[in-house]
Amino acid sequence: MADRFDRVGAVALIACLAVASQFMGDYHLALLTQITIFALSAMGLNMLLGNTGMISIAHAAFMGVGAFSSAYLIQNLGLPALAAILLAGLITSVVGMVFGLPSLRLKGVYLAMASFAAQIILYWAFEQSRWLTGGQDGRFAERPVMLGISFMDSHRFYLLALAIAVLGAVANLNIERSRLGRAFNAVRDRSQAAEMMGVNVFRTKMASFGLATFYAGVAGALFGQYLEFVAIQAFSLSVSIQFLALVIIGGLGSLAGSVLGAAFIVLVPEILDTTILMFSHNTGEMAPIRLGVFGLIVVVFLLFEPQGLARAWNRTRQWALNHTGKGSQTRS
């Protein structure tokens, strides 16, 4: 009952977004597009962090790999956009798995450090590879033409991003229910027991890395095209940390969490900015306040709502369901 309710709700939400976006002004559309792309990227990280229990402090760097390689494939090699985006995802996936290799023997804090090093090394590589990234100047990324349809227009581009994000979400849900998805959870909860049950732990971890970074690569490619310009600063350590925070604030191992977290991480700074502007016109104060509030939110969520927004949302929904009398079965 609740499952069907969810499915109907999700379809209705997507339809609403698709229609409403076409009537939005540029500002709101930009926010919505960013949320959509971030959500897609977060789904990957959430699979790694929430479902498989492996931390990655390099998610933004992987998005960068996707963004730059797709721009290179389209502009320098003349590949069709759709192929380039997919190929960018695969390239990112390979890079991700190379840095995931130490996970064969590592977990917890060691893995955190390995991915931390990956972030710093990749960022440095971006700075060095002028042929690929344009160095400090960045490079242009054009909006794609796919199957004869041009997505130059922002409203149309949003539909493309939405479609890809929905595909990603459906794939995410199906993977979760598959053998591989169960293996992810088994590795997260008891890797030794999982191994004894016949789960190939290393291969499962690699698959998780590969999938997570594939999402990052595709989302990165879209992000670059959405901005029409890719600068290496967009993929720095602090952005990686933002993505970690996004997943934790949203809710570990939950698709709704990825989406809610993305909305949160994009909207809260905007709301903060408007609030600060009401009290002071000194825009120089904005960045530190934004940053400080962001840090506080992360800590507060960890202390008081470690399950994230997804659980808070579930509670609210349950309450609503109970009070409208539609379904009284409890489902956490």
Partner: protein, 295 residues
């Protein structure tokens, strides 16, 4: 040859600061099994606080330095009491994220109060060189080296000869056994955080002296990670030695690899290549215990 020696000495000096900060990181890890990702920001805030005390009170460096240590103690207590103690027994990922969150808040404070531009540190130790026979070393470097050695010796003695040090070592070797013998764990955790924050503060003041103050200082703290992984995350001796190794390698890398490979900025990144390599080959590091964090 002079160039080579200069790089080595520079590396040893910067490395000794890494060693000291690495000591703090290892200490927290041993006592509480928390890896403090805010170590770099603790280092940064220590440097800024010291500068502010000098500017506001106009006191001599030594007094300001001691007051900075006092501030670091209070900060450590606040962090431990308000956040980390409540997260005891939480998942490693959550704890890592919490320390990252604390780091972000500290960074925001620095950006808000002092801004992002680089500020020179008032000259405490003259940069003038002293002739040591073979090479000339800047007094600033010499003092930094001596101070970090002194701090490390002090903490070494503390662990070896005092009762609290003994209890801390007991807690590190087996938390459960220590707890059942009546060791007040929360107190031990608090002390571990205090020591870690103080060494970071000292590290911050010294690096601030050498490199000037900017939010980039926190990156120095981050470079302690390769050092602790090289030495073994749970080895104090390892941290001390490999801090210096990383410092030297970084300087040699910055000095020579640029001409060899034509790549810029390889120095600061080189330690992280080492980090990844060690995690591939020998995750327990040079001195670490074998049985930790395996599959």
């Amino acid at each position: 040859m002079d160039y080579f020696l200069g790089l080595i000495i520079n590396g040893i000096v910067v490395g000794s600061i890494y060693s000291m900060v690495a000591l703090g990181l290892v200490l927290i890890y041993k006592a509480t099994e928390v890896v403090n990702f805010a170590q770099g920001e603790l280092l940064m805030i220590g440097a800024y606080i010291c500068l502010e005390i000098i500017h506001v009170t106009g006191m001599p460096f030594l007094v300001s330095f001691l007051m900075t240590m006092g501030f670091m103690v209070i900060l450590a207590l606040a962090i431990e009491r308000l956040v980390l103690r409540r997260m005891m027994g939480a998942h490693a990922l959550a704890v890592i994220m919490a320390t990252i969150g604390i780091g972000i808040i500290l960074r925001a404070v620095v950006l808000g109060v002092w801004g992002a531009t680089s500020i020179p540190f008032p000259e405490v130790f003259p940069r003038q060189g002293i002739d040591l026979g073979v090479v000339t070393v800047s007094q600033l470097y010499l003092w930094s080296f001596i101070l970090s050695l002194a701090f490390m010796a002090m903490f070494g003695a503390f662990f070896k000869f005092t009762r609290v040090g003994l209890v801390m070592r007991a807690t590190a070797s087996s938390r459960k056994a220590a707890e059942s013998m009546g060791v007040p764990l929360t107190k031990i955790f608090a002390i571990a955080w205090i020591i870690s924050a103080v060494v970071s503060g000292v590290g911050g003041v010294l690096t601030g002296n050498i490199a000037g103050l900017s939010p980039e200082l926190s990156f120095y703290g981050v470079k302690v990670f390769p050092a602790v992984i090289l030495g073994g995350l749970d080895s104090i001796v390892g941290a001390t030695i490999s801090g210096v190794i990383i410092g030297v390698l970084e300087n040699l890398g910055g000095g020579y690899l640029k001409d060899l490979t034509g790549l810029h900025g390889l120095g600061p990144v080189a330690p992280f290549f080492i980090l990844v390599a060690i995690l591939w080959v020998r995750p327990t590091g040079l001195f670490g215990r074998k049985d930790i964090e395996k599959l």
